[in-house]
């Protein structure tokens, strides 16, 4: 016999009787760990009131506050990825797509829609990072392409919110060619003299940076967003030493001349609308 004897069993509460905090009631800031209610966080446009950390959000959230009254019409909602290469790594690409759809309720890594922003007609495309890392495959390219067609047809400005790790490897060269495709389409938008505003959010890297994200008439970003061509890990391995502080942040990219301005999320809509009004005068 030991000196100490446990008088009770470890956990006596049966699983069914457990009292759990309902999912999504609280939010903890990833950066400063401040706790807040999810409602508060949402009201603050998913920005931490304490440290101003801009949480990564997707098209649903951006559209909810960018379009007037959150109202918009989605463009090409039925477009989905095929699996042209029958790609399989540790998982089948088809299964990855299925899982991403189930997890996010989205059809692919971008959503495009048109509506009004401060009463101005706009077309907005917004990438969804939660869908396979916001990777750019054929659907992303085609949706951007069709959104641009819509802009040209109805003479509307185009806003594209990027949030992506780059091209989608499971579509290999087909993904790569989306860089060519979107850039070619943007050249038509430019010929039509319609403004293209590229909004780069955390993170924007790889083939997305090396195509449409850097091609805005004006390029804008959110505070502290990661923006680069090669990912920071790759750059670090290449140069064999630590990266300077703040490397590849929006502030760094602004300083090096590749952004026009950085805007906090609470001012984003007003500033975008004002920029467009000045263009479309």
């Amino acid at each position: 016999m030991g000196w100490f004897k446990r008088m009770k069993d470890n956990i006596a509460t049966p699983t069914i009787a457990k009292k759990e905090t309902p999912e999504g009631l609280w939010h903890q800031c990833k950066k400063c760990k401040t706790m807040m209610t999810a409602e508060e966080h949402k009201e603050n446009l998913w920005v931490c009131p304490t440290c101003e950390h801009h949480e990564r959000i997707n098209s649903t959230e951006y559209f909810s506050f960018l379009f007037d009254g959150g109202k918009y019409s989605e463009l090409s909602p039925k477009l989905i990825s095929g699996d042209p290469l029958k790609f399989e790594d540790t998982k089948k690409y088809k299964d990855r797509l299925k899982a991403a759809k189930a997890k996010t309720g989205l059809t692919d890594a971008i959503t495009t829609g048109y509506g009004k922003m401060e009463d101005v007609d706009v077309v907005i495309a917004c990438m969804n990072f939660n869908f396979i890392g916001g990777s750019m495959g054929s659907v992303v390219g085609e949706k951007i392409s069709r959104a641009i067609d819509h802009c040209i047809k109805y003479k509307k400005p185009f806003i594209l919110i990027s949030k992506s790790g780059g091209a989608r490897m499971m579509e290999a060269a087909l993904s790569l060619m989306q860089m060519a495709k979107t850039s070619a389409k943007l050249s038509l938008l430019a010929e039509a003299k319609l403004p293209f505003i590229s909004f780069l959010t955390d993170p924007t890297t790889g083939g997305v940076t090396a195509s449409y994200a850097m091609l805005g008439d004006i390029n804008i970003s959110e505070p502290n967003a990661l923006i680069g061509f090669a990912g920071p890990r790759v750059v670090k391995e290449t140069i064999g030493r630590d990266l300077p502080k703040g490397f590849q942040t929006a502030e760094f990219v602004l300083e090096h001349g590749f952004l026009d301005y950085i805007v906090e999320r609470k001012d984003m809509k007003a500033k975008l609308a004002q920029s467009i009004r000045l263009f479309m005068n």
């Binding site: 039925k78 477009l79 989905i80 990825s81 095929g82 042209p84 290469l85 790609f87 399989e88 790594d89 540790t90 495959g137 054929s138 659907v139 085609e142 392409s145 091209a167 490897m169 579509e171 290999a172 060269a173 087909l174 993904s175 790569l176 060619m177 989306q178 860089m179 060519a180 495709k181 850039s183 070619a184 389409k185 943007l186 050249s187 038509l188 430019a190 010929e191 790889g206 083939g207 940076t209 090396a210 195509s211 449409y212 994200a213 850097m214 091609l215 680069g228 061509f229 090669a230 790759v234 750059v235 290449t238 140069i239 990266l243 300077p244 490397f247 590849q248 090096h256 001349g257 590749f258």
Partner: protein
């Protein structure tokens, strides 16, 4: 001669051949029939191996250390003493990994642009292993725009393991440099012919790759990432590179079947390095034929069909 791992049977036969030739020089026995026999065996072996290359083996051939590089092609393709190399992006410097200049083919001026790899260790470093910095892409763009001004067609020879992922490259906007080239190439008013002569890695390759005609030489690869890096990211290990090469459909034949390129340029048996002149000749013919075809098309039409070609790339479904 450098032999790749799958070329070992050829290496062994060649070794045998050398030994027998030595015997012959001593002159004691007549071995001429044996020599002929082995030579025939070598030819058969090379054909057998090269007609059945796997995707990964093709990647290896594309990186063969004796494979000819961009300047070698240009030297052969252009009229004697006509090529003048042009340097610098007029901004920060001259990128040694991206070369360019004007020369003539049968008396007609052509602007050449391409990534350049080095022929030995020292030169490989000098050329940054064919990985351009932003100034390389900007130099390429400067030369394209100049060609447009003087109505000179542009030929791009692609051979790169990727755009350089360095610190300064990021500071100077590697992404922007490539992106700018894409949108400018889409609207370039002169004929643009692009040929992958070695490695076609990702945005670094596409950055000079949006041609009216895009060709790949037989034993080259072109994709969104190298098979090694694809393996590292998706399988979390280097070991699946062969499988990745297969799955990515990155060979010239695959790319043609996917409709992402316009044609495949044949290589001599045993690869471009086995008979560089033959390889140069095939590339030269492809360039001449393409330029003949493109020259008389109205610039606006040429641009429109170039944009249309790239705009229809991709594979989607409607739910």
């Amino acid at each position: 001669m450098v032999y790749l791992d799958f070329e070992q049977p050829i290496a062994e036969l060649n070794e045998q051949l050398e030994k027998i030739k030595e015997v012959q020089t001593k002159g004691d026995v007549d071995v001429s029939t044996t020599i002929k026999d082995i030579e025939k065996q070598i030819a058969v072996k090379i054909k057998e191996i090269y007609e059945n290359l796997s995707a990964w083996q093709q990647v290896q051939v594309s990186r063969h250390p004796q494979r000819p590089y961009t300047l070698g092609y240009i030297d052969y393709i252009t009229d004697d003493n006509s090529f003048i190399e042009l340097h610098g992006d007029r901004n920060v410097g001259d990128d040694k990994a991206m070369i360019g200049g004007m020369g003539s083919i049968n008396g007609e001026s052509v602007m050449f642009i391409g990534q350049q790899k080095g022929i030995n260790t020292k030169m490989r470093q000098y050329r940054n292993f064919g990985m351009p910095n932003p100034e390389g892409y900007r130099k390429a763009l400067r030369l394209m725009k100049m060609a447009e001004k003087f109505n000179i067609p542009v030929v791009c020879l692609i051979d790169t393991p990727g755009a350089f992922p360095g610190l300064e490259a990021e500071e100077r906007g590697q992404g922007e440099a490539i992106a700018r080239n894409l949108i400018e190439m889409a609207q370039l008013k002169v004929p643009l012919v692009c040929i992958v002569i070695g490695e076609g890695a990702s945005g670094g390759a596409l950055g000079i790759g949006m041609g009216d005609k895009v060709f790949m030489m037989e034993n080259t690869w072109y994709s969104v990432i190298s098979p090694e890096n694809c393996s590292t990211i998706l399988w979390r290990s280097w070991d699946h590179k062969e499988e990745a090469a297969e799955k990515m459909k990155l060979t010239s034949q695959d790319m043609l079947e996917l409709g992402l390129i316009d044609g495949v340029i044949k290589e001599p048996i045993g690869g471009a390095h086995a008979d560089p002149e033959k390889a140069f000749e095939n590339v030269k013919n492809a360039i001449i034929n393409s330029l003949n075809e493109l020259r008389d098309i109205e610039p606006q039409k040429r641009v429109a069909s170039r944009i249309k070609k790239f705009s229809t790339m991709g594979h989607c479904e409607e739910a």
